[in-house]
């Protein structure tokens, strides 16, 4: 509107002054002095002094570009040339006016049929570490034609021959510009300097120029390592999942949980990738800590809608974590010493500028909990993770990355009333080999081989080595191509083949007789194949069309034992499939479409449609916030692939002159072939586990608001989401629709970071969510001495609302210029110690010590006391972090 008004005003002024212009001459002499004055004001001043009228499209010129210029008694023509040419602005005189246009536009208008085009390509890296910079903007300042770097820091842009003022910018880095005459294909390696929080320039610049390029990616959230560090994690640790909780549309289960729910999707409908390898359980200590060592994280991209076609396999979200490559210029180390965990990262060049490594290790410090003296019980809590990455630049066209990750958790407990030590243990192991290859300066490819294994142990008796084990193993080979056809079209294509093996859980008993009588649960083998093609197409200078199609397929392979069920979920047939045979193939097209329309210079309106398919699902009827049961099963004869159709709309605007951004997103999502469970489903060690499943549909819808200030001493955001998720299962709840347990209609989040002093950073977050749905009793019955709840409709009540505040204060101990940087971080999780119940219990009595216990003596009456169970009160933490 403002733009329209401005254009009309300029035009009106022009018409009113027609008669005057003849009297004006471009060779009249004037004196001017501009010191950091925006171009718009410069033109106004020149017009005022000379009487010349300028006509231009406000959207196509860099009117806020600051001009430093001085002229004394120079003619107007010279002044205009000296000011406008470096900005690639051309002028023509048409009768009574001077028309200003970007040089390129002018060239196009005047061009003859054939225009020679050249490609500018290269990599963008951190000046100090050599790390590839992801998602950085590369654009021509005058025409705002541009692109962004990909996950490997590569960019490519093809432009008509001419002079360009190319700017490279990324949030948290000082932007740099390069004037060049593009008359041949050019390859560049650009390095940007970090404007980190440790440096004197304490304000994190929001990159005023970026707004001109990014058309507003609906449903996408990006967190850099610097942004993560500024947020209050748990116990002084950077925490990806907890940080993403502060984004509207992403809810976690609650305290101590790594489960998260995106736009009504279940926890297993989220895909988490670390350097393209899937992580099946991204949690330590049931979810209190994320699985990746904080210093190993470089970049996080989370998609909650409008997924690019290159991503698939899950219905609701993709969290794409990129690990750091390691400092290619000089050796260094960093780490953290804390009460709960400690970690150390070592990195450096193997061959300077050619290859690097990074090794990160983290270990829990929680073994002091194993104290009968304090707890009258013995608890073992332990976890570690290791991350190793090697980055080898073979030559200008080839680069290799090797990544390995392993993490393990151990938890066991023995109580005063038991002789066996129970326990849970899980471990993730992944390995990735990636090969970047440049076929040309416009065709980039990445080929990845992934190995991923996840094991989950439930120890029935550690002494007797009796345990239940489930596992899932994945091997994937994929290749992705990006073709930067021209500034208006970026084509992506790729293919992926994966082999999956899943053990839904078998037991190992040390006692031979028990082992003999134990049934054997059939294991799953399956194979996925998918291809995709997409294009990001700019139509004019306002409309960005992203469209693509992913074709995915799935089939199971022998050897396998398949049970078939009747309508009552009873086994009616068993088929044994021999090795090498395929069965139950599925094919699903997954179209992706997104339309972004730029309104003026500050706002974008986006609408999108995404279909996703999921073939591998976690089967669990747990309502616990903790990792407790992990059975992964593929689609097959009894489990049809899950699919979801999501419609989104997003309005994104930035307030002119302010680093403040507002986004409003709305979505509607329909889920098909959704899984729920029969009452008291037997999900652990059950050969007929698929007979415990019930199928139906679900729908979710919501509105998400985000107000964000990304720079300044005080930065942060305020988010609100209204989301509903409702399920309909034919065989549950009498076929009536019911809310999912993670249905939390209202969510409110704030996150603030404040540079209180040059050496003090304070971060505070506050979270509020409606209580989750649960099934509350309508009465109680007595049976053989037990008091047993009787229930009505499923998920008919809500737990109390959830809210908590986290605060962290970081004190810098070093001088800014010192190479050894170290901080003390004091953090408080749940500062005001609000107890957020995740369950109610109706089966406890109070013993002589005032503890709530389950009654054992069932002879006679006892007073049952309803209780609420929550995870954590105030958790303080003190960490010492260092970096060299």
């Amino acid at each position: 509107m403002k733009l329209l008004f401005r254009t009309i005003f300029v035009t009106a002024l022009l018409l009113a002054s027609v008669g005057m212009l003849h009297a004006q001459h471009l060779n009249q002499k004037i004196s001017v002095e501009f010191n950091n004055v925006p171009l718009e004001e410069v033109l106004r001043e020149l017009s005022r002094q000379s009487g010349i009228l300028f006509s231009y499209n406000a959207a196509s010129l860099p009117l806020d570009r600051k001009i430093v210029y001085r002229a004394s008694e120079k003619n107007i023509e010279t002044i205009l040339d000296e000011i406008l040419k470096p900005l690639n602005i051309a002028r023509i005189q048409r009768e009574q006016q001077v028309i200003l246009k970007p040089s390129k536009a002018m060239k196009e208008e005047n061009a003859t049929a054939a225009v020679q085009k050249y490609t500018l390509s290269g990599f963008l890296r951190d000046e100090k570490t050599g790390e590839a910079l992801i998602g950085a903007n590369v654009y021509d300042k005058s025409s705002y034609t541009g692109t962004t770097t990909n996950a490997y820091g590569f960019f490519s842009i093809t432009l008509a021959e001419g002079h360009y003022d190319i700017t490279f910018s990324l949030l948290g880095y000082a932007a740099t510009s390069l004037a060049l005459n593009l008359n041949s294909n050019r390859s560049l390696n650009i390095k940007l300097n970090e404007t980190g929080i440790d440096m004197k320039a304490v304000e994190i610049k929001g990159g005023q120029d970026e707004k001109e390029i990014t058309a507003g990616n609906a449903g996408e959230v990006r967190l850099t390592a610097a942004a993560l560090k500024r947020m209050a994690g748990f116990a002084g640790n950077i925490d990806v999942i907890r940080s993403l909780q502060a984004v509207p549309g992403i809810n976690t289960f609650g305290d101590g949980s790594s489960f998260y729910y995106v736009r009504g999707g279940n926890n297993d409908q989220n895909l988490m990738l670390i350097d393209e390898a899937p992580i099946f359980n991204p949690a330590h200590l049931f979810g209190f800590f994320s699985a990746l060592a904080p210093d190993a994280i470089k970049d996080v991209r989370a998609f909650k809608g409008d997924f690019p076609a290159s991503y698939g396999g899950r219905l609701s979200s993709v969290i794409d974590i990129r690990a750091r490559d390691g400092n290619i210029n000089r050796p260094g180390f960093s780490g953290n010493l804390g009460i709960y965990t400690s970690d150390l990262t070592v990195e450096g060049p193997i061959q300077k500028e050619k290859s690097s490594f990074i090794l990160s290790a983290r270990k829990s410090n929680l073994n002091w909990l194993n104290s009968e003296e304090i707890f009258n019980k013995s608890i073992t809590i332990d976890f570690y993770d290791l991350n190793a990455k090697f980055n080898i630049r073979i030559n200008d066209k080839n680069r290799l990355f090797l990544t390995g990750f392993t993490g393990r958790d151990e938890f066991s407990r023995i109580t005063g009333s038991s002789v066996n030590t129970f326990g849970i243990s899980w471990n993730n192991t992944t390995g990735t080999i990636r090969w970047n290859h440049l076929f040309s300066n416009r065709l980039f490819s990445n080929t990845t081989a992934v190995f991923s294994q996840y094991n989950y142990y439930l120890y029935i008796s550690r002494e007797q080595d009796d345990y239940w084990l489930s596992s899932v193993r994945n091997r994937t080979l994929k290749t992705d191509f990006t073709f930067y056809m021209n500034p208006a079209n970026t084509i992506r294509a790729g293919a992926e083949i994966s082999g999956n093996h899943s053990n839904p859980g078998n037991v190992h008993f040390s006692d031979e007789d028990t082992q003999k009588s134990a049934p054997v649960i059939p294991e799953y083998n399956s194979m996925g194949l998918s291809v995709y093609l997409s294009n990001d197409q700019m139509i004019g200078d306002r409309l960005l069309l992203r469209y693509g199609l992913r074709l995915s397929s799935w089939r199971n392979t022998g050897p396998a034992t398949v049970y078939f069920y009747d309508a009552a979920y009873q086994v009616i047939d068993t088929v044994t499939v021999s090795k090498g045979s395929y069965f139950t193939p599925y094919y699903r097209p997954e179209p992706r479409l997104s339309l972004s329309w730029r309104i003026g210079r500050e706002s974008t309106l986006t609408a999108g449609y995404t279909r996703t398919a999921q073939y591998l699902q976690m089967l669990s009827n747990s309502t616990s916030p903790f990792t407790s049961l992990e059975v992964w099963a593929p689609s097959g004869p009894n489990i049809r692939p899950q699919t979801a159709d999501q419609f989104t709309a997003c309005f994104l605007t930035r307030f002119n002159g302010n680093p403040v951004q507002l986004s409003v997103e709305t979505f509607y999502k329909k889920f098909h072939n959704q899984i729920d469970y029969k009452d008291h489903a037997n999900m652990l060690y059950n050969p007929f586990i698929e007979g415990e499943l019930r199928f139906g549909t679900a729908r979710s819808y919501g509105v998400e608001l985000l107000l964000k200030k990304s720079s300044g001493k005080l930065a942060g955001w305020l988010g609100y989401a209204y989301t509903r998720i409702l399920k309909t299962m034919e065989d549950l709840n009498n076929g009536l629709e019911f809310p999912a347990i993670y249905d939390r209609p209202h969510s409110l989040f704030t996150n603030l970071t404040w540079k209180a002093a040059s050496f003090v950073d304070i971060s505070a977050s506050w979270f509020y969510m409606s209580g989750s749905a649960y099934t509350s009793p309508t009465g109680f019955m007595s049976f053989n001495g037990y008091t047993v709840p009787v229930y009505g409709a499923r998920n008919n009540s809500r737990l109390p609302d959830y809210h908590r505040m986290d605060v962290s204060i970081s004190f810098r101990l070093n001088k800014p210029e010192n190479r050894y940087k170290h901080n003390i971080v004091l953090s408080f999780y749940n500062l005001y110690a609000h107890k957020n119940p995740f369950a109610f219990a109706f089966n406890k009595i109070m013993n002589d010590k005032g503890e709530f216990v389950v009654p054992s003596d069932l002879d006679g009456s006892y007073e049952v006391i309803p209780t609420s169970i929550s995870v954590a009160g105030l958790i303080p933490a003190l960490n010492y972090t260092f970096r060299f």
Binding site: S417, A841, V853, G873
Partner: protein, 284 residues
């Protein structure tokens, strides 16, 4: 050292404990009018019993009983009539003592205000079993049970009832009944559950030397085991950190009745708690 322990204690209390507290749950205003049936035919020669009660709205209170019902139990060649105990309304006993027979199917028929409830149960074969184990509990001089039965066995499904009676032991003779008796139940089921493995802490029952211990093994069918698993899921295993979705118990009763009708072969062993311990392992 003390400071360190205090610090650890504070931190740990923050993380792991103090997280369960009494809740002023006042119900959700709904009610349930169904009849709860608890009936078991055993292989012991006795007056067999069926209990009929109603669902109550508050946990732990004595439930309202169902009086005036007609109760019959039959097998292919026998019919037993049950009558309500006038001193214990809602309790229906067989008119004669009888013992259920193994592998025989019994049918329960209840008629209450023309509301007819039926159920069938087959009595599985009874089995021998290994007697329970107990150990001395610290320096109290008392005992506690440490093992009664393996919780998992796919073939030997059973419920174990342990009756403890120390009313005749010196020093306890004049105490009220509930302070000198205890009844505990244990199970061997064909299933494993996470909430079973990590069940919440349970009440510790201690008993003195000289306590009469009676252990009864009730053989159960697979469907009975499924009912008991659900029962435990809603009671003993509920309220820990690893809950599963709550739901009503399954039943073999018709006409919207709740509860279960079963037939169990019973094997019994008795002993007197002695100071010479049968097991040293786990003795603390």
């Amino acid at each position: 050292m003390k400071r360190r322990i205090l610090l650890y204690l504070l931190l740990t209390v923050s993380v792991l404990s103090g997280c369960e507290e009494q809740n002023d749950w006042a119900g959700n205003g709904l009610s349930d009018s169904s009849i709860v049936v608890e009936g078991m035919i055993t292989s012991e020669t006795e007056y067999q019993t069926v209990y009929l009660t109603k669902v109550s709205t508050i946990p732990g209170i004595t439930p309202e009983v169902v009086s005036g019902a007609g109760v019959l139990v039959s097998s292919p060649d026998e019919l037993y009539e049950f009558t309500e105990d006038p001193e214990q309304p809602g309790t229906y006993r067989s008119k004669i003592r009888f013992a259920g027979k193994q592998l025989r199917t019994y049918t329960l028929l209840i008629n209450h205000n023309n509301n007819v409830i039926t159920a069938k149960a087959t009595m599985p074969v009874g089995r021998e079993f290994v007697f329970l184990r107990y150990v001395k509990h610290g320096s109290t001089g008392l005992f506690r049970l440490v093992w009664v039965a393996n919780t998992y066995n796919a073939n030997r499904l059973a419920m174990y009832e342990v009756l403890l009676d120390w009313s005749m032991v010196d020093g306890y003779k004049h105490l009220p009944y509930e302070e000198t008796h205890a009844r505990l139940l244990y199970y061997t089921l064909p299933t494993l559950d996470v909430n079973q493995v990590f069940a919440p802490s349970s009440e510790m029952v201690l008993f003195p030397p000289g306590t009469h211990i009676t252990e009864k093994r009730y053989s159960i069918t697979e469907s009975h085991a499924a009912f008991l698993r659900a029962l435990l899921s809603e009671t003993n295993w509920q309220g820990g950190l690893f809950n599963v979705a709550s739901a009503n118990l399954p039943t073999n009763l018709s006409n919207n009745a709740r509860g279960y009708f079963s037939a169990c072969a019973v094997t019994t062993k008795t002993d007197i708690a002695r100071t010479i311990l049968p097991l040293s392992k786990g003795n603390n």
